[in-house]
């Protein structure tokens, strides 16, 4: 019993508090909190060759005590823009801090006016998928966002509808990402064997280079209907995040060709955290790599780089769709 008393007493001496330092809710405090969150969690400092300590020195002088919330928001957004990352955002009740140069600096290469010429008004809608058989017996499916739910039944219906088509055009232009499980679900319809499609990694500590080993990502073939004929995947600079991931996966399937513009990138799986003033920051936390262990953070180049020409636009033709049709059916006029 005496030993028990000693154990009890010693244990009670060792009990401490697990706590984290809180920054004050001032411009300086919010700046420090944001800088530290990024310093400890952001995953692309070395890949992008960003010296985060010098960024601190540049922007700290701008986060003075008497600036307004709008000015503070501008300073913090400017600081985050140094990371050149579309997954890095600052959310407040009055604005959304963003870095969108990955698509704003490039032509859109997508026009819903032109798309309407192809889809018409009698196209089908299966959850988030709009689809139609074009005049030359090529299936065309448009997926606007990976946030739009797609069920296995929806995919069965689309593939069944296209069963007698000579190929399929999968158009994800303008798709800014969404849920990764939708990526896995759709990509599984285009593979016949377990396929290595990339690698993932996560941070294991606060250091800029504290990463886990690369873990392979595989796509297993779907047990439902699978597409065996040629596929042309249409991309542009607005293809980002989960859509970029989908592009990476689809390029590993032998029957898939990517046409259009380079994707926008965004290969870091994002996390969020909050600042003392309640603003939320989103940032890339887990880097993904393609199957050759290359980063795809700045996008994936297409097999055929095709842009919509002014001449085609005036004729009501989408150059990229037309090129895709000619790849599937070379005898197209």
């Amino acid at each position: 019993m005496k030993k028990y008393f000693i154990l009890f007493f010693c244990l009670s001496l060792f009990i401490g508090c697990v706590d984290e330092e809180e920054r004050p809710d001032t411009p300086e405090g919010n700046f420090e909190a944001l800088w530290k969150i990024m310093d400890e969690h952001y995953c692309f400092f070395d890949y992008k060759n960003v010296d985060w300590n010098s960024v601190y020195n540049i922007y700290k002088v701008r986060a003075r005590g008497d600036i307004s919330r709008e000015q503070l928001f501008e300073v913090l957004t400017d600081m985050l823009s140094e990371l050149r990352d579309g997954h890095v955002n600052l959310y407040s009740a009055f604005d959304y801090g963003r870095y969108w140069r990955w698509h704003e600096d490039y032509p859109t290469n997508f026009s819903d006016t032109l798309q309407r010429r192809y889809l018409g008004t009698d196209y089908r809608i299966a959850a988030g998928l709009k689809y139609k058989i074009l005049d030359d017996n090529i299936g065309y499916v448009y997926y606007e966002s990976f946030s739009d739910a797609v069920g296995e039944g929806n995919l069965d219906e689309v593939i069944q509808h296209f069963m007698f088509c000579q190929g399929m055009i999968v158009d994800i232009r303008g798709n800014g990402g969404g849920t990764v499980t939708n990526v896995d679900k759709i990509a599984a319809r285009f593979c016949n064997e377990k396929t290595l499609v990339g690698y993932s990694q996560h941070k294991t500590g606060k250091g800029h280079n504290d990463f886990s080993d690369l873990e392979p990502i595989y796509i297993e073939p779907s047990s439902n209907l699978r597409w065996q004929k040629p596929v042309v995947l249409l991309t542009n600079r607005e293809v980002f995040s989960a859509a970029n991931e989908f592009t990476q996966y689809m390029r590993c399937m032998p029957q898939v060709i990517q046409v259009g513009d380079q994707t926008g990138g965004g290969s870091g799986m994002p996390f969020t955290a909050t600042l003392p003033n309640g603003w939320t920051v989103r940032f890339s936390a887990c880097p993904n790599y393609d199957r050759d262990r290359n980063q795809t953070e700045f996008g994936i180049a297409p097999d055929y780089n095709v842009a919509i020409t002014d001449a085609d636009f005036l004729r009501g033709k989408d150059t990229i769709i037309e090129f895709a049709r000619s790849l599937i059916n070379p005898y197209n006029p």
């Binding site: 009990i15 809180e22 809710d25 499980t181």
Partner: protein
């Protein structure tokens, strides 16, 4: 007052229908404080509710050498950060299975020493996060534990003061790694130190409860008191604490 009366009536009914030798049903309300650096480094605080059920195989008026006490504790809380813009929802279930050695050094004083096995399941959900909105908690730990109960009277009324303390020792807990997504664990099957051995240094969780029973009938007592459950961990470079402070009220039935 009518609500409190109804709650006490329900607790009395629950205590009466139980078959164990001493059973207690309590509910409590009080402050919750939350830190979960997997979600955000900000602290959250708010109000929480607790339901506690205690089943003790030893009746209060006899003394056995070894007894077993089982406690089921359910905590629910809604908390906000200091800006008031962000909310966390927290739910935790704790099961304590304790084996005690009983002593009676003086009349009216009963001491118990032993250890409790604590199973904890729960999680925190951040209402504004989209990419890492939740953190699950699951742990199994051994906690050296002790209780002291002292019976006394004021006039013709009989009272009992009780104190219980559970201290941390060793255990195992689930935790994602520092920057690991749940998608990696559960969709891709990539495990990375997700089952972590813990000690009283890395998981200094402890719990105390101080109560006073007023025996208003031969077998029934009204119990009021304070329950403090301080669940803490520091594993995989992630810090977490849930401090639950509760004012408790309930009914105890002894056979």
């Amino acid at each position: 007052m009518r609500i409190l009366s109804s709650i006490l009536l329900c607790l009395t009914f629950a205590a009466t229908t139980a078959k164990a030798q001493t059973t207690t049903h309590m509910i409590g309300v009080g402050k919750s404080k939350i830190l979960e650096t997997y979600l955000t480094p900000e602290h959250f605080s708010g109000t929480g509710l607790t339901y506690l059920y205690i089943k003790d195989t030893a009746p209060t008026d006899t003394l056995r050498r070894w007894t077993t006490t089982i406690e089921h504790e359910v905590d629910l809380s809604k908390t906000k950060d200091r800006s008031g813009n962000t909310s966390d929802l927290e739910a935790t279930y704790n099961l304590y299975w304790a084996r005690y050695y009983n002593l009676q050094p003086i009349d009216n004083l009963r001491l118990q020493f032993g250890a409790a096995a604590n199973l904890r399941l729960g999680g925190i959900y951040n209402m504004t996060s989209s990419n890492n909105p939740g953190q699950a908690h699951a742990s199994l730990s051994i906690m050296p534990s002790a209780t002291a109960a002292y019976n006394f009277s004021i006039g013709s009324q009989h009272f009992s003061a009780r104190y219980e303390l559970n201290l941390p020792l060793v255990g195992v807990m689930f935790s994602p790694n520092y920057g690991q997504l749940y998608y990696e664990i559960f969709c891709q099957g990539n495990y990375d130190h997700n089952i972590v051995p813990t000690t009283f240094i890395s998981a200094p969780t402890f719990r105390q409860m101080a109560t006073i029973d007023w025996r208003f009938s031969q077998r029934m007592s009204l119990r009021v008191g304070y329950l403090g459950n301080y669940m803490q961990s520091k594993v995989n470079n992630l810090k977490s604490h849930i401090y639950a402070h509760r004012i408790m009220i309930g009914i105890t039935r002894s056979l």
